[in-house]
């Protein structure tokens, strides 16, 4: 850490100036990046600050510190915007959908990655082709399908529709990973009398934990952010709205209550930001895993 060259460190003497140069450069970089970063997260700071101001005060000035914290904004948001309920809906949808997606994509990835069967190339081709289909493209038949299954106006409709996307990236990740594992693993398990399902569940799947982490994180972000599906599928049932849809309609109903909305947005964003801050290593490694494979 110390930038001062010491006489004792003579063997490194010729590396010392470079090291010092890089430390100084790092300090300068930090000094430049810090204000940029603060600007970058300024909208969040502004939101939290606005949630503690009165409606008059929000547009009175640029200062971020409220004169007197207005905690009742949060109470109002909680009761009127039903943030708590929407939050639970979002958690329910996201968790179920993540479990389903990991289950489905790992299995299909396992089969595609380890077994040769007729039509494999076609299955692969079909999945890869769906990468390029824009999301809005299939919303109408999906809407129809969910209603026909009798799942219209239920959260399960949202969950199934989210999980049923082709998720090519996840499948490719699993398939790529499983295909690299040595054959002896399966052979040994089969010798021990394990069937197809047990080989998969007890031998192969535990080995794929890094990929599972990636898929969980990526689908968590996708599902938590999803808007079109829950919007369309809960149009007639306000109590089933997810957070994003709920916030959107709250704005439609209480357009003038900015501090209430800022408070609702803060309640909605805080948990996810906290989860991210606590688990950020997994987030970053998970996302990175998508590229490293």
């Amino acid at each position: 850490m110390t930038a001062l060259p010491t006489p004792i460190a003579r063997p490194r003497a010729n590396r010392q100036p470079w090291l010092r140069g890089s430390t100084i450069r790092a300090l300068i970089t930090s000094a430049i990046l810090l204000p940029i970063c603060i600007l970058w997260i300024y909208p969040f700071l502004w939101m939290v600050s606005a949630s503690l101001k009165t409606n008059m005060e929000i547009f009175g000035g640029l200062g971020l510190i409220p004169q007197a914290p207005q905690w009742q904004n949060y109470l109002r948001a909680w009761e009127q915007a039903r943030v708590g309920q929407y939050f639970m809906n979002s958690v329910y949808v996201t968790v179920s959908s993540v479990i389903l997606v990991v289950f489905c994509t790992s299995m299909i990835g396992y089969v595609l990655g380890r077994y040769a069967f007729p039509g494999k190339r076609i299955v692969f081709g079909l999945f890869v082709a769906t990468v390029f289909i824009p999301a809005g493209y299939t919303i109408i038949p999906v809407f129809e399908m969910v209603n026909r299954l009798g799942l219209g106006d239920t959260l399960w409709g949202v969950i199934l529709a989210q999980s049923g996307g082709a998720h090519v990236l996840y499948i490719l990740l699993f398939a790529g990973y499983f295909s690299q594992l040595p054959r002896e693993l399966e052979e040994a398990a089969v010798m021990d009398g394990a069937g197809f399902v047990r080989v998969f569940a007890q031998v192969m799947l535990p080995l794929a934990t890094p990929i599972m982490a990636t898929v969980i994180i990526m689908h968590f972000i996708a599902s938590w952010n999803d808007f079109l599906l829950p919007l369309v599928l809960t149009l007639s049932r306000p109590e089933l709205r997810t957070l994003s849809v709920g916030m959107y309609s709250f704005r439609g109903e209480y357009y003038v209550d900015w501090s209430g909305m800022a408070a609702a947005a803060s309640i909605a964003l805080m948990p996810i930001i906290l989860v991210f801050l606590v688990m950020q290593r997994y987030f970053v490694e998970g996302i990175a895993g998508a590229v490293k494979q």
Partner: protein
Amino acid sequence: MAPALILAGMFTFYPIISSWQYSLLQWSGFTAQKTFIGLANYAEIIQDKYFWDAFRRAFQFMLVSMPIKLTIALLLAIVLNNQALKLSPVFRTMFFLPVVTTAAIVGILMTFIFSPFNGPINGILRDLRLIKAPIDFLGDPRTVLWTVIGIEIWKWLGQPMIYWLAALQTIPREIYEAAKVDGAGWWPQLRHITIPMLVPFAIVIMLITAVGTLHVFPLVQTLTGGGPFFATEVMEIYIYRTAFGGATGMATPRLGYASAAGVVFGITIMALALLQAVGVRRLRDFRSGFSSNN
């Protein structure tokens, strides 16, 4: 495998096929009355100005947002990949924060931030005496699309940044050490080591980012709902508006017509994707590990 195929079949493959079928119908979606009208929807779409505007905007969005996002993300990743930079994880976290925040809430938050009625952006610009009258960033058809693109870049920049960082970390440190011994400076190192080593990753990263950039519905719908005067109506919004009567529910829903729009757009995207033969070939390399097994 079966459950995945059934689910994907139900919610991905079947909808693709049936949207072709719907596109041949005149159908409001809420009544059982479906009239087969052949290609009439397509004939109408070809002449629909709003469709082509939305079509153009979707590409404009992608062609502006993607290069900017990828370039800034790469520069940031290179800067943050510096081992001497002790605060690097903190910076990384801050840049990544918008990625995990719900898109729809970002949309609502940003309508405050960019508000012409003393919103903070206008406030700062006014205090710096850069503007006299507030700019209605999200209400003026001339500025709105650029504002939305800017917000989209802000929201998603962290994702390609992490991809680039992951790619950078696969380059062995020894190569740089060797280059330093040979007296190569910062730029030659970047030019002759970093960039060539990133090329195989770049294609995957571009692909993932391109697909993401087509999916801007939550952000645009909550920011502007496609307005003002359709100035930000990208394809997803157009389909939503024609299919479900839009946010206001004023217009008559036309599921058949919206399906036809979806088909035309989807086929264009697929055709473009297929034309990118390089990208497709790289995708094969990406999964070459197991195609070589059979």
